[in-house]
């Protein structure tokens, strides 16, 4: 990727919230952090609540000026993505870091994971009654890969030309190289629409709802009576009305005033304030879907060309204090590695201690003495500026003079060269399946290598990871990369923050299925 040609907005959507749209893993439904006292929601947490048919769910999510009904732009805002999940089924979804297939009945690969065979489930129909076939699946994949979609980045290894339909229910996907984790890619927002679709704004879907009315700001969807998977769950609701509301506070106020039943993405402080409100149920993402805060050090720039400087920063961070102040006590400590609580995560990675004296000694050893640093940050998302400000005091105790270089939110991602060459900056990583995030942020082929250039060792480990097949080997190779980054990487991942939402107590069955901020309303129902 040519970084010169990627804009602030692109990165905002990608690194900020957009990646969360395309990449993810887990299930909403989970209880909140035990300490927060948040009420659980969803099938796994409220098994005693029997689904009830009928009613209209009114839900508010963040929108943007790019809102549209186009299937190839469905990931541009939260409200678009939530709507897309109702209109178009996907090949699969992520639950607890693993794919659960929907349109795909099975997904298998050859010995070296260069060819993947997708068997399409029988009996799926589009909303006009047309049968969904392998032809539609291949057309959708080719369309998503060849258009400027968020999915296209994930499908970079997909060989669209060589791939073919073997029979009406089987499609053979060829890759440009081995990728044992391509199943995770296929479970990421691969919406399926009819072959030959030209008007993507009005593409038919096989999902549980049909879009009846849309305007920039609100949309109305009606349930399908003939949904192919109705025997196993929703749609229970008659209709869903989605509202696009930019401000998190306004969404919550709308919920509290009875205007909405569900409000996506609320703030940590609002969650704390509403914790005891019986009319509001605060929902917390399962831990594998929490966001992660990091101080990213570029290993190609001074002073982080010296490994001691990197370690000094890591030891200077008081993670417990940052969790208390930045996440308002609702988060948890992270230990310089992404993806905790995912099945891929190596739980043997040791805790990183807070040891300002050791940090001081390391700086002295590297002959950095009273190191003067500047941490580039912005308030484009909660947590980054707050972390940087808090770190200044912590660094002082370790003999580092750190200044906060606050960039206006609108400009923070506009200069990609600067972004990828800044010695020290804050980052908020949105959740995605760990093998995909490792490839995305680290190595020579990374899209956004915030920690600077790669080396042969890291590239070798990442290649081995992609070549691995079978769960055991795949896990081992992911662990190898994690261990390397823990020891030699440039990210000091210090805290994990829970994404939050809110609903009335009557709302049930809303599930993350990979994306907490863009939940799946397929099985939602209302039961006061």
């Amino acid at each position: 990727m040519n970084f010169d040609q990627v804009s602030r907005r692109s990165i905002l959507r990608t690194v900020g919230s957009g990646l969360g749209v395309v990449l993810g893993g887990g299930l909403l439904a989970a209880c909140g952090d035990g300490s927060s006292g948040h009420t659980p929601l969803g099938s796994s947490a409220t098994p005693s609540v029997a689904p009830r048919r009928g009613g209209k769910l009114r839900a508010a999510f963040a929108g943007s000026s790019t809102e549209s009904t186009s299937v190839i732009r469905a990931t541009s805002s939260a409200v678009d993505y939530v709507r897309a999940r109702l209109v178009w089924d996907t090949l699969g979804e992520i639950e607890k870091s693993k794919p659960v297939w929907r349109i795909a009945e099975s997904v298998e690969h050859n010995a070296d994971a260069t060819r993947w065979t997708v068997r399409v489930r029988d009996g799926i129909t589009f909303s006009d009654g047309r049968k969904l076939t392998a032809e539609d699946v291949l057309f959708s994949l080719r369309t998503l890969a060849s258009n400027p979609t968020a999915q296209s980045g994930l499908l970079g290894g997909f060989d669209a030309k060589a791939s073919k339909v073997r029979d009406p229910r089987t499609v053979e996907l060829h890759l440009k190289g081995p990728d044992g984790f391509f199943d995770l890619v296929l479970a990421q927002s691969i919406f399926v629409f009819p072959a030959g679709t030209k008007d993507f704004e009005r593409a038919l879907g096989s999902g549980p709802f049909v879009l009846k009315k849309w305007s920039r700001g609100s949309s109305l969807l009606k349930a399908r009576k003939d949904y192919w998977d109705a025997d196993h769950g929703g749609p229970y609701l008659d209709a869903v009305e989605l509202f696009s509301v930019a401000e998190a506070g306004a969404r919550l106020n709308g919920l509290k005033s009875g205007q909405f039943d569900y409000a996506g993405a609320i703030s940590l402080s609002a969650a704390r304030a509403e914790n005891k409100n019986p009319k509001v149920r605060v929902l917390t993402a399962p831990k594998e879907l929490w966001s992660e805060l990091s101080l990213s050090m570029n290993l190609g720039t001074e002073p982080f060309t010296e490994p001691e400087a990197v370690q000094a920063v890591r030891y200077a961070i008081d993670r417990e204090a940052l969790v208390r102040s930045v996440t308002l006590g609702q988060g948890e400590v992270a230990d310089d590695a992404l993806g905790r609580h995912q099945t891929w995560y190596d739980s043997s990675l040791p805790r990183r201690a807070h040891d300002p004296e050791k940090a001081r000694r390391l700086l002295k050893k590297a002959r950095l003495g009273e190191a003067k640093l500047s941490v580039r940050t912005s308030d484009y998302e909660y947590g980054t500026l707050e972390s940087a400000t808090a770190f200044v005091q912590q660094a002082k105790a370790a003999g580092m003079a750190v200044a906060v270089d606050k960039i206006p939110a609108a400009d923070y991602y506009s200069d990609i060269k600067k972004l990828l060459s800044t010695p020290l900056q804050t980052n908020l990583f949105h959740p995605m399946p760990l093998p995909l995030s490792l490839s995305f942020y680290y190595g020579s082929h990374a899209s956004y290598p915030f920690t600077g250039p790669s080396n042969d060792t890291l590239d070798g480990l990442l290649s081995a990871m992609h070549a691995a097949v079978g769960d055991g080997k795949r896990s081992r190779t992911v662990h190898d990369v994690q261990h390397y980054l823990y020891e030699h990487g440039g990210d000091a991942v210090f805290a994990r923050m829970p994404p939050l939402a809110a609903s009335t107590p009557a709302v049930h069955g809303v599930e993350a299925r990979g994306f907490f901020d863009y939940p799946c309303l397929r099985d939602a129902f209302l039961r006061p």
Binding site: T14, S64, R73, S152, N253, S257, Q259, D415
Partner: protein
């Protein structure tokens, strides 16, 4: 000089005055559009990269940039836009391909409706409260009106709006907290979405107008004309309506007019606070998306309204003071 030559001279000066004003107005609009275009061009990123979600290949970004015409030199793009604008075509949005004029029409209608409702309430409320307080100057009513209006104006707009939401939406549940109409409705079919934004706008505009009317009423009440009328046995109600009210309202008219212009020009804080689908909110969104045609269209429209109002004000002043029109 004969009477006819004097009339010809006046007509000539009047024509010259209008020509000068119109040329200045046109120049102002072109300058404003150029300024906005330069600003959008110099801003980091562009609409093509903004749409690609950071994951498309450089070739695809270039293709999209080419499709949008963003690979042409800036002067050429501006010229193309200006030529279209002069022919009534404001172009299409980079973000969603929608004609800018269509987008502006829908949003401007909503903004105008919000501003008009607020303006329609502002005038009678300001006059009534000002009159009420002025006629009871120094008494409890006067102090209550003055204190409450001053309190309202001293609060920032977003604070007032938030407090209104907490009271009337969250607390009492009377009005919606978010002013987005439902999918099968509109602002007109769901007028309740206007209530809180209008109340917020009134809170901003009311205080100064009430105080102006109040002080005018106090002065007019003590005027010789009013006193003479009272001595002549004219009932107090008639004194107020005939002498006090007109004398009190006239000084407030220019200020009221300024507030009306503010209300009708799109009210950013109220629109963004309540998520109201108006022109100001559209401008904010378009700026963030680097959607230059929409940014240009909206700003030129607002600039045109301002310029038109100023030309009309100049014309009014000139008609009242011919010396100004003649430049003498």
């Amino acid at each position: 000089m004969t009477a006819s030559s004097t009339r010809r001279s006046h007509r000539f000066h009047a024509s010259l005055w209008w020509l000068r004003r119109l040329l200045t107005a046109a120049g102002t609009l072109v300058a404003a559009s150029l300024l906005v275009f330069v600003a959008t061009t110099l801003a980091p990123g562009d609409a093509a990269t903004a749409q690609l979600a950071g994951q498309a290949s450089p070739e695809r970004i270039a293709e999209l940039r080419h499709d949008m015409g963003l690979d042409h030199p800036p002067w050429e793009r501006y010229g193309h836009w200006l030529w279209g604008a002069l022919h009534g075509d404001l172009g299409t949005s980079y973000v969603n391909g929608e004609p800018v004029s269509q987008l502006i029409a829908a949003r401007a209608g909503n903004s105008l409706l919000l501003g008009a409702v607020a303006a329609a309430l502002l005038v009678p409320i300001a006059i009534s409260l000002g009159l009420w307080a002025g006629l009871r100057a120094g008494r409890v009513v006067d102090r209550a009106v003055s204190t409450s209006t001053l309190t309202l104006v001293s609060l920032p707009e977003f604070v007032t709006g938030t407090l209104l939401v907490l009271l009337f939406a969250v607390g009492l549940g009377w009005f919606p907290a978010v002013s987005v109409p439902s999918a099968d409705g509109s602002v007109l079919s769901e007028p309740q979405v206007l209530v809180l934004p209008v109340m917020t706008l009134l809170s901003v505009c009311l205080a100064q107008n009430v105080r102006l009317v109040r002080s005018g009423v106090i002065a007019a009440t003590a005027s010789d004309a009013a006193q003479a009328a009272r001595l002549g046995g004219v009932p107090e109600r008639r004194v107020v309506l005939r002498w006090v009210l007109p004398a009190a309202v006239v000084p407030a008219v220019p200020v009221l007019a300024r507030y009306l212009s503010y209300l009708l020009g799109g009210t950013l804080v109220a629109e963004t606070l309540f998520g109201y689908p108006g022109l100001a909110a559209a401008l904010v969104n378009a700026t963030a998306a680097r959607d230059a045609p929409v940014v240009l269209g909206v700003t030129v429209l607002v600039a045109a309204m301002t310029v038109a109002l100023n030309v009309l004000a100049d014309a009014l002043a000139a008609s009242l003071n011919p010396a100004a029109r003649n430049g003498t």
